[in-house]
């Protein structure tokens, strides 16, 4: 389909991602910043699977991001010091919660869907915040660290070697993003576009719309909880802010900023977001108002997001 990224774009983006740790310093960044771009980019792209390619706005994706983060953190801290197991448990927790909640809300549309996703998100936030004895409450889950990756033949030090950890994240990112890309190009993916474009027509072609929205929601949440697990690993820490509503809002901002009709747009949006946050917050406390201003300008003048502008210039 037309909106699937051109080969050139895809190649360029992979090239940038593959080399990022080697030139980050030269442009005033650091490897952890690059890792943040990947992790939040994955979260925004996962959200966009639902938002941009199914046409359903969730304002509560931080819940699944946070469940992933808590799942990974608590597994490594309490159950077994294994990074892959932490990721597995985190993703399973987030996905399972999405299956249940998705089934409850797949009938809702538009602003009602968005409101209910916020509400469920806040439920998880308050559980994490209040249930001190288990979640550590406001202080979060501390006192654990991501573990080396044991591949049998070799051990990869993810903790001390931040480049190695970056490439570990990139590998997870690549798997997730490739799966999403393949899904969107499949007959199933096209039924999601159909729902976005015209729900009534989709239904009267024989697509069980609610079931497909549910599937899309679960897939989206599965990948966002993967991003959540990586986020906890990156910080060696997680706290209730990972699943608060403003985190959900940030994902939406990233997706819209970068361009929610394009596959890579949310990654670009996340990069802008992370870099602005890093740069502006070192100068002023009010970094969010800069993001806000930038967001409003983009939405007003370039409703298709940053990638939408580049795309039009490059291809028209």
């Amino acid at each position: 389909m037309k909106r699937v990224p051109a080969v050139a774009w895809t190649g360029l983006i992979w090239l940038v991602l593959l080399t990022m740790p080697y030139w980050m310093r030269a442009v005033g960044g650091y490897t952890e910043l690059a890792s943040r771009v990947l992790v939040l980019g994955l979260a925004a792209m996962s959200l966009n699977f639902l938002l941009g390619f199914t046409g359903v706005l969730s304002f509560g994706h931080a819940a699944y991001f946070g469940l992933g983060a808590y799942g990974a953190a608590m597994t490594i801290k309490y159950i077994a010091p294994s990074t892959p197991l932490g990721i597995l448990v985190g993703v399973a927790t987030g996905t399972l919660a999405a299956m249940v909640i998705g089934a409850l809300i797949a009938r809702l549309r538009g602003v009602y869907f968005a409101m209910v996703t916020i509400a469920f998100g806040q439920v998880f936030y308050f559980i994490a915040f209040r249930w001190n004895s288990v979640t550590g409450g406001d202080d979060g889950v501390t006192g654990w660290k991501r573990q080396a990756l044991d591949l049998g033949l070799a051990k990869i030090d993810l903790l001390g070697n931040d480049k190695a950890f970056y490439y570990f994240i990139l590998a997870c990112f690549a798997i997730a993003v490739t799966l999403m890309w393949l899904l969107l190009r499949s007959p199933f993916g096209r039924t999601l576009l159909a729902i976005r474009e015209n729900e009534r027509r989709a239904r009267f072609l024989g697509v069980p719309v609610e079931r497909h929205i549910w599937l899309s929601f679960v897939i989206s949440c599965c990948f966002v909880s993967l991003a959540g697990t990586l986020y906890a690993l990156l910080n060696n820490f997680t706290d209730p802010r990972a699943l608060r509503w403003d985190q959900s809002g940030n994902f939406v901002i990233m997706a819209v900023l970068g361009g929610m009709r394009s596959f890579w747009g949310p990654l670009i949006g996340a990069a802008i977001f992370v870099v602005l946050q890093d740069y502006v917050s070192s100068h002023t406390e009010n970094w969010m108002s800069f993001i806000g201003l930038f967001f409003v300008l983009v939405v007003l003048f370039f409703p298709r997001g940053v990638l939408g502008i580049l795309r039009r210039k490059g291809m028209a």
Binding site: P187, T191, E197, N198, F204, G206
Partner: protein
Amino acid sequence: MSLLVVENATRRFGSLVAVDAVSMSVAPGELRAIIGPNGAGKTTFFNLISGFFPPTSGRILFSGTDVTRLSPERRVGMGMARTFQITEIFPELTARENLRIAVEVASGLRRSPWLRGHANAQIRERIEVLLDMGGLTPKADRLVGELPHGDQRTAEIMMALALKPRLLLLDEPTAGMGDQETHDITQLIRKLHKDQQLTIVLIEHDMRVVFHLADRITVLAEGAVLGEGTPNEIARDERVQAAYLGKAA
């Protein structure tokens, strides 16, 4: 046996009785036209048949099965396809993509996360046949929302046909079309009916089209059946003339 049987279907909206105890049965291979003044309840009747909403009372049977409470997508699965009075397509996708979605869903691939080369080849072929049948081949790669109105309506009909329906419901297929487009669509419908023995129910205001195509005509007025018969019988029916044809002429 009738392909479609409607028994005493009634639909109320508050105090308004939009469809009032309407019964109708359509034989396989028949082309039935439904006519009636604006607000007669024709579209509402279609909505009951296709499952857009359930009737307040009454029953709908499709090839012998009671479908009254079935979802629209289940009815589509059983072979019922429809178009809408106001075109319902995927405007920001190309004509070819619109048809691809319809063909893939019809091929039972809607949940498939991949597409094998062989299946894809068959799907492509089917898309091209449909594009050609609708005269859309030269415009296949343009966004369907940017095509002329007539082409959009044709695209919607082709999407319905992609489902290989046993019953095709068309709500004013020629609405808003120019003379040439009306002629083309009429020819297409006639061909589907004559060559493929497709069972069609269509709502239509254009009497030339109705009398050219229909095997039988059902006249609705104020939600109720005013008359039913062959085009000749309807043309002679005085009540119908008084209520509808007279005014239209």
